[in-house]
């Protein structure tokens, strides 16, 4: 069983990306042997009203058994609160918020209120550190990356909030994990999409230092080719049980309840 917690549907505004249509994503899942993908609506991440993409997302995933929706929530806009109830009704495993793209302080009052609301609704809050390598971003793509300090602040802001952080590298993960109490750290999960494999062996080290239970399988597809997440696991000497933990069990046990 392999669950990709970090996938997208829909066009990207800054360059042509193949494979953004639902049927193409399904082909990619088949190709890389991914059983289930948690998908976000990529275009609305850049909209003034990101929640307007959720209806399309719900409608699309309803037709594909292997897809689960991760709807967007913009806590700075009026009327965002019912979005969490809708997410639960549609079987969303998480909701996402991209505060830098929304023009919000990532640890500001709006996002803290959202974090608390997600905790109360038992919905993990997904946040991406970045979508693309900073060195290659479009000149007009100026949203800041998610700061590690903001993640530390959010996990401290509410005892019930669970955070799923995608596209984080080793330094980011270490800073947040070891800058948190054990209880706080136990409410954060990290996808492996941006963590380096050999010869640096960042993922191998993090599995030992931070703990295998904190990591989930994520690709960032189709902005990134999904083969990458599989290849880095194939290069790890994990053992079947720990590999299964990353590929699906951590997401099931930690996020899907």
């Amino acid at each position: 069983m392999r669950i990709d917690v970090n996938a997208f549907l829909g066009a990207y505004p800054y360059r042509r990306v193949p494979g953004t249509a639902p049927e193409r994503l399904m082909q990619a899942l088949e190709r890389v042997q991914i059983d289930e993908a948690w998908v976000s609506h990529l275009p609305s991440l850049f909209w003034r009203q990101p929640m307007e993409g959720n209806a399309w997302l719900y409608d699309t995933v309803a037709r594909e058994r292997r897809l689960r929706p991760v709807p967007a929530v913009h806590p700075g806009l009026a009327g965002w609160a019912p979005t969490l109830g809708e997410a639960v009704d549609h079987g969303a495993p998480a909701v996402r918020c991209d505060p830098a793209h929304y023009g919000l302080d990532p640890a500001g009052p709006e996002v803290r209120v959202l974090a608390a609301a997600c905790g109360a609704a038992k919905l993990p809050l997904m946040m991406a550190v970045r979508l693309e390598d900073a060195r290659q971003r479009h000149p007009n793509d100026r949203a800041a990356e998610l700061p590690a300090a903001a993640v530390r602040a959010l996990i401290r802001s509410d005892d019930a909030v669970r955070l799923l952080i995608t596209h984080a590298d080793r330094a980011f993960i270490e800073e947040v994990h070891f800058g948190s109490t054990p209880d706080e750290a136990a409410r954060m999960w990290w996808d492996i999409s941006w963590i380096w494999g050999p010869p640096e062996d960042h993922l191998a080290m993090l599995v030992e230092t931070v703990g295998v239970e904190r990591f989930v399988f994520g690709t960032g597809q189709p902005l990134r080719i999904p083969e990458n997440a599989v290849a880095k696991l194939d290069l790890l000497d994990l053992g079947a049980q720990r590999r299964a933990a990353i590929e699906s069990e951590n997401a099931r046990a930690g996020l899907l309840h």
Binding site: E200, D201, P222, E227
Partner: protein, 266 residues
């Protein structure tokens, strides 16, 4: 056969206390991936006693010596690029002669001098005379000077390649950061520049764009600092290419541009 045209190793005079482990990790990961030949360079002291991209002559020599040792320790799977700093022309040319004479198979130009600079001409001329390729570190679409390096981009490498049409240049790590679309547009008609697919970037659409721009016959497989990304690209290419085309990227194109005898199959 699978040839990694963009590999690196470390040695005891670098900031890496774990240099042995990193070298061993590259070789063991290579075994899992199926890499038969790591064509590698060492960039001086990797910043310990001179900057990574502006290595002193002393550090250049030490790093090249360390690579020669690795090449002797692993004659079946390690090949070397001789690293040079073109600002020291006499040293650079002597180092090329020395290391090629000791069995290295190419020249590594990092980012010590812009590719458009005349100081790269004596290096390129020697590459032509010795029949070896030049791997040029590239920042894909360099809009400004970045600290720590005098990087070149694809258009600047194309200018160097135009001045030396008989030299085979390798544009380093198309996935190594920056706007790869800019590089690919600049290289479309530059027949003596090959593109290595290495780098941590695994952007959707990048490999399709490489094939569209330079074609399968100018594409080389490599890893640079992240081997999982190289393996991922190889797996993805297997879906884009026919088996015969994939063999070109895996090793046949490399065999064509490195000197005869560099690899056992030729």
């Amino acid at each position: 056969m699978l040839i990694d045209v963009h590999a690196h190793f470390y040695h005891d005079q670098t900031p890496r206390a774990d240099w042995r482990e990193r070298n061993a990790s590259r070789l063991s990961a290579g075994d899992k991936i199926g890499v038969t030949h790591h064509v590698a360079s060492i960039l001086g002291s990797w910043g310990l006693t001179s900057p990574i991209y502006f290595p002193s002559p002393r550090d250049v020599t030490y790093g090249n010596d360390a690579l020669l040792v690795l090449q002797r320790q692993h004659p079946d799977r390690v090949r070397g690029y001789v690293t040079v700093n073109p600002n020291y022309t006499t040293h650079a040319r002597a180092e090329i002669e020395r290391c090629l004479g000791a069995g290295m198979v190419g020249i590594k130009l990092a980012a010590s001098r812009r590719a458009t600079d005349p100081l790269l001409d004596p290096i390129s001329e020697l590459a032509r005379a010795r029949g070896v390729p030049v791997l040029q570190h590239v920042w894909q679409h360099r809009r400004r000077d970045w600290p720590g390096q005098e990087a070149s981009d694809g258009a600047e490498l194309a200018a160097l390649a135009a001045r030396h049409p008989d030299v085979r240049f390798i544009l380093a790590h198309i996935g190594g950061g920056g706007d790869w679309q800019h590089s690919l547009a600049a290289l479309r008609t530059v027949a003596n520049v090959y593109v290595d697919v290495s780098g941590s970037g695994v952007d959707g659409g990048m490999l399709e764009a490489c094939l569209e721009s330079v074609g399968v016959e100018r594409l080389l497989w490599g890893t640079d600092l992240t081997m999982e990304t190289g393996w991922a690209k190889l797996r993805y290419l297997a879906h884009l290419l026919s088996p015969a085309q994939l063999e070109l990227v895996k090793w046949k194109n490399a065999v064509r541009i490195f000197p005869p005898g560099a690899f056992p199959a030729d």
